[in-house]
C-alpha cells in the first residue's frame, strides 16, 4: 500500500489506473475527495433540490466505481467524469414526467429558432446570469448539457464530440441550436 503522501501526489489518470488494478476503495476515496464537490454542484444544476442532488451524487459515484474501467484515457479524467456526470443527470431528468410538458414548448422554440441568425459568443456573453439560469432550468437538458460543457467547463469541440459520441460538425450544430433556443427563451422570460 502506498503512503498517503504518495497517493495524493498521483495524477487523476494514475490514480484511476491504480483503482482499476487493485479495486482499492481507499484509493477511490481519494478520487471522491478530489471530485465530489464539483460533481455535487453540477448535480445541483439539474436537480430540483439539495437532497435530490445528494442522491444523484451518490448514484454517480457508485456507478463510477463499477464503470471506472471504461475510462480509456483518451481525454483528461476530469473531462470524462464531467461528461459522465452530465449524461447521468440528463438521463435522470428525462425520466421525470414533467419533461413531457416542456417538450411542447421546446418544439415551438425549435421551429422559431430555425429561422434566426447564428448567435455570436459576444451576444451570448451579454446575457444576465440570473435570467440565463432560469432559461437553463426550462430548456431541454441535452441542450443545457452541451452549453455547460462548452461555456462552463471549457470543453473543446473534440472533447464534446468524444463524450457524446457524435461528429464534430454535429456538435457544432447542437451548440448553435442550443444557443438559438436560449436566446429565444431569454427574450420571453
Amino acid at each position: 500500500m502506498k503512503s498517503s503522501v504518495k497517493i495524493n501526489q498521483l495524477s487523476d489518470e494514475e490514480l484511476v489506473s491504480e483503482i482499476v488494478k487493485t479495486n482499492d476503495s481507499a484509493l477511490f476515496a481519494v478520487l471522491y475527495d478530489r471530485y465530489a464537490p464539483i460533481v455535487f454542484n453540477k448535480c445541483l444544476g439539474f436537480a430540483k433540490h439539495k437532497a435530490e442532488a445528494e442522491d444523484l451524487t451518490h448514484d454517480i459515484f457508485i456507478k463510477l466505481y463499477v464503470k471506472i474501467r471504461s475510462f480509456k484515457g483518451t481525454a483528461k479524467f476530469s473531462t470524462w467524469l464531467y461528461s459522465f456526470t452530465y449524461n447521468f443527470c440528463v438521463n435522470y431528468v428525462q425520466r421525470d414526467a414533467y419533461k413531457n410538458k416542456e417538450q411542447v414548448n421546446e418544439e415551438a422554440v425549435e421551429k422559431r429558432a430555425a429561422v434566426t441568425d447564428e448567435v455570436s459568443d459576444e451576444d451570448f456573453f451579454q446575457l444576465k446570469a440570473e435570467r440565463l439560469q432560469k432559461v437553463l432550468s426550462i430548456i431541454d437538458p441535452k441542450d443545457k448539457m452541451v452549453l455547460l460543457m462548452k461555456y462552463q467547463d471549457d470543453f473543446s469541440i473534440k472533447d464534446i464530440s468524444q463524450s457524446l459520441e457524435l461528429g464534430e460538425s454535429a456538435v457544432k450544430m447542437r451548440i448553435k441550436r442550443a444557443k438559438e433556443k436560449v436566446m429565444e427563451l431569454y427574450k420571453t422570460i
Binding site: A36, F40, I62, A129
Partner: protein, 63 residues
C-alpha cells in the same frame, strides 16, 4: 467580457455524511464482486487444476 455561465456555477458545500454512505456502499459492492470472483472464477480454477493433477498422478501410477 465576462462569461455568465461561470457566474451560475453552484458553490454549495457537500454534506460530510454522504462520503460515509458512498464508501459503505462501495465496500459492499467490492465484497460482492470478490465473493462472486471467489466462487465463479477462483474455486473452479483450483478444482480444475486439482483434478488434472490427480489425473496425471493416477496415470503415472498406472504406468
Amino acid at each position: 467580457m465576462e462569461n455568465p455561465f461561470k457566474k451560475i456555477l453552484n458553490q454549495e458545500a457537500l454534506p460530510e455524511t454522504l462520503k460515509d454512505k458512498i464508501m459503505n456502499d462501495i465496500s459492499f459492492i467490492k465484497l460482492s464482486i470478490d465473493v462472486a470472483d471467489l466462487f465463479a472464477v477462483k474455486y473452479p480454477t483450483v478444482a480444475g487444476e486439482l483434478f488434472t493433477m490427480t489425473e496425471k498422478k493416477s496415470k503415472k501410477n498406472k504406468k
